[in-house]
């Protein structure tokens, strides 16, 4: 009975030992390679490959993709590497971002950055052509996505009239200055 209890204890000890998280030597992220692949629609596919000091891919490593903005670094995505050591994300509008960085590990000690400025070709096409707009617009009147001539004339008359009056007033002010 005592022997059985000892065996059970040893078995439990082995199971507990096996369940403890282990740090395998050489699985620490040592290097990260950031690659981008642009798409015709202006988006970019970002791939970060994390390898250890021996060049072997590191799986399950936390990876953070960041983009530089006017006011600092904006986190784009937080993910982990797969079995191939790769983590991926899609940058929807790559053309408005100039610099991308990837950080590996909680402290971001392993880091890579890439400049997108060189691959910028043209601004995204924000406004479709008139032909497209006419086709897609179900709304009449002022909600219409294209300019309504009557609206332009109306605005022109109101604003033009007011600013012309201001001009007239300014002209009179100049006459006050010149008057004797």
């Amino acid at each position: 009975m005592r022997r059985l209890r000892s065996l059970l204890f040893c078995g439990l000890f082995v199971v507990a030992l096996a369940a403890m998280p282990t740090r395998v030597e050489g699985a620490e992220p040592a290097r990260v390679v950031l690659q981008t692949q642009s798409a015709p629609d202006g988006s970019a596919r970002l791939t970060a490959t994390v390898v250890d000091s021996r060049g072997a891919p590191v799986a399950e490593s936390p990876v953070t993709f960041k983009a530089r903005t006017t006011f600092g670094w904006l986190t784009l995505a937080e993910t982990t590497t797969g079995a191939d050591g790769k983590a991926r994300t899609i940058l929807a509008v790559a053309t408005v971002v100039e610099e991308i960085a990837v950080e590996v590990g909680g402290e971001g000690t392993v880091r890579a950055a890439i400049l997108l400025g060189a691959r910028r070709t043209s601004a995204p096409r924000i406004r479709p052509g008139w032909d497209v707009l006419r086709g897609v617009s179900p709304q009449p009147g002022f909600i219409s996505p294209y300019l309504v001539p009557l609206q332009v004339i109306l605005f022109g008359m109101i604003l033009g009239g007011i600013w012309a009056t201001y001009g007239y007033v300014a002209w009179f002010l100049l006459r006050i200055r010149g008057a004797r």
């Binding site: 006017t70 006011f71 600092g72 924000i126 406004r127 002022f142 909600i143 219409s144 996505p145 300019l147 309504v148 609206q151 332009v152 605005f155 604003l159 007011i162 600013w163 009056t165 201001y166 007239y168 007033v169 009179f172 002010l173 006459r175 006050i176 200055r177 010149g178 008057a179 004797r180």
Partner: protein
């Protein structure tokens, strides 16, 4: 021959007191205002660095306190131009002492109001996109165009009637600091008060007085359209334009009353801003308040009668739910009470109230203060859900008790307000302005809380809007900025028109004629 400040005539000395006198109180006030503004700038840098996430704004609450400030300031700005223009055109002589104060309020509040949408932007560096990619079909672009047009117009409307006074300052401050001399010389446009110059000035003032009225009305109408042109519950309304204009005039007139009282007290302008001015402004506030109350009733009764599905949640939250206290305060404290304060003290039986023992100020105030203290202590003593025949003591009783105490306080103070009509007007106007800001908040936020598609898959905290310290700090800084601009304006230019009040005394019938003589006005120097 230029005069030193000590050689001003007695009348000029009084009217230019705001320019020549600056005691420790003034510097303390400026210091406090600058400190609040500096704190607001720090808060804004935090917002710039970390984004709008540091505010209470979330996916469904794209507008909050900043747009509340925007609508409030643009509203307050209206009365200056409108009141001044209408009173000028109708030849109301009593307006001469107060129109410049009103016009300066327009200028200062427009500057602050126009700033708020930029603060509300998460990416202010993209502001140029509004012009580059703006759509003329969008009320947001209409806002930009109308506000910039109105700012230009109201600045001209403020400046043109000041020219004779600026010429006077140019002559009187010839021995003053160089910046003052240069500024006055530049802005005086070589004014000498000749016949030709006066003719041109009259013409310009006539044109501006007429054109500024439709511009002012259209600006706040356009501001209302950024809400009214949507299909959102609470915003989709055809009366939003006139409703906003009436609310703007009401709050703006109240702001003028506060400014009148402040300057009267600070610079001893009792001779120029009399009780009669407060009485007339009080009539104006009462009239505008009744118009505003009518529009409020019309605005809410129409959807409340139908309680359509889309609006049911919103209206319930406003009338009896989460926003009920704010909403009813804006109606009772912001409309009903100010109107009563401005009218009831004039009733002949009011002094008799003091004969009633429990309406005498000292015992009444002592009892009310004790009651409030007990009420504040009550929740800590009683269990939170103590029931009294099914009546929740903690939740329900205080509302009625506070209402009863408020009514008692009002009756007690009525004889006091009768003796001090200016104090009554100031209390009423402050209540109107506080409630006006809260009403803009109640217009903007509850609607966003009730979108057509329910808020889902969002963190629990994102379904309600609560302004953070960043937004409140920036709001405080905006108010401080408004006061500071107004204060500095009164330090550089006379806050009461000198040449117009001189005409009032000498030629009561004249409405738009600037005075003649060298520099526009020339009182005899003090002996």
């Amino acid at each position: 021959m230029p005069r030193r400040p000590d050689q001003f005539s007695p009348r000029e000395r009084v009217l230019l007191a705001s320019l020549t006198e600056a005691g420790p109180g003034f510097y303390a006030l400026v210091g406090v205002l600058l400190a609040v503004i500096a704190w607001g700038i720090i808060a804004y840098t935090v917002q710039l660095r970390y984004g709008l996430g540091v505010t209470g704004l979330r996916d469904h609450f794209m507008w909050g306190v900043y747009i509340t400030n925007f609508v409030f300031f643009i509203g307050v700005s209206h009365v200056g131009a409108l009141m001044s223009a209408i009173l000028r055109i109708t030849g109301a002589e009593w307006r001469r002492s107060v129109t410049r104060m009103a016009e300066a309020i327009t200028f200062a509040s427009l500057l602050m109001g126009a700033l708020m949408p930029f603060v509300d932007m998460g990416r202010p560096d993209r502001i140029l996109n509004l012009l580059l990619h703006g759509r003329l079909q969008s009320p947001v672009l209409w806002d930009i165009l109308s506000i910039s047009t109105y700012l230009t117009g109201s600045t001209l409307f403020l400046y043109v009637p000041m020219i004779p006074d600026i010429a006077l300052l140019r002559d009187r401050f010839a021995e003053g600091p160089a910046w003052r001399r240069r500024l006055y010389t530049l802005l005086a446009l070589g004014w000498k008060g000749t016949e030709v110059q006066r003719h041109h000035l009259e013409r310009i003032m006539g044109i501006m007085a007429i054109i500024i009225i439709p511009i002012a009305i259209s600006v706040h109408t356009v501001v209302s359209w950024i809400f009214g042109m949507t299909l959102r519950a609470g915003w989709n309304s055809t009366v939003f334009g006139p409703y906003f204009v009436s609310g703007a005039l009401f709050s703006g007139a109240a702001a003028v009353v506060t400014a009148m009282a402040a300057f009267r007290w600070a610079y001893h302008l009792e001779e120029y801003i009399t009780e009669a001015h407060f009485r007339r402004m009080g009539y104006l506030v009462i009239t505008l308040g009744m118009i505003y109350a009518y529009f409020t009733f019309a605005e809410y009764i129409t959807p409340a009668y139908k309680m359509a599905t889309a609006e049911r949640g919103y209206l319930t939250a406003v009338f009896s739910g989460q926003f009920a206290r704010l909403f009813w305060f804006t109606q009772v404290g912001g409309v009903l009470l100010p109107l009563l304060l401005l009218t009831v003290p004039r009733i002949s039986w009011v002094p008799r109230l003091q004969r009633v023992l429990f309406l005498r100020p000292v015992p009444a105030l002592a009892t009310i203060a004790t009651s409030v203290a007990v009420l504040l202590a009550l929740p800590a003593v009683l269990p939170r859900t103590a029931a009294l025949g099914g009546f929740d003591v903690i939740r329900q009783l205080p509302v009625w008790i506070i209402g009863a105490l408020g009514g008692w306080l009002f009756l007690t103070l009525l004889p006091v307000f009768r003796q001090r009509p200016i104090a009554a007007a100031v209390v009423a106007s402050l209540l109107v302005n506080i409630a006006a800001w809260l009403k803009r908040f109640v217009i903007i936020v509850p609607t966003l809380q009730f979108p057509f598609l329910p808020i889902q898959r969002a963190p629990a905290g994102w379904a309600i809007y609560q302004p953070t310290w960043v937004e409140l700090s920036i709001t405080a800084a905006a108010v401080a900025g408004f006061v500071l601009i107004y204060l500095l304006f009164s330090k550089v230019f006379p806050i009461v028109s000198i040449w117009e009040t001189r005409e009032e005394g000498h030629r009561p019938g004249a409405a738009l004629s600037p005075a003649g003589g060298h520099g526009g006005v020339a009182d005899a120097p003090a002996p």
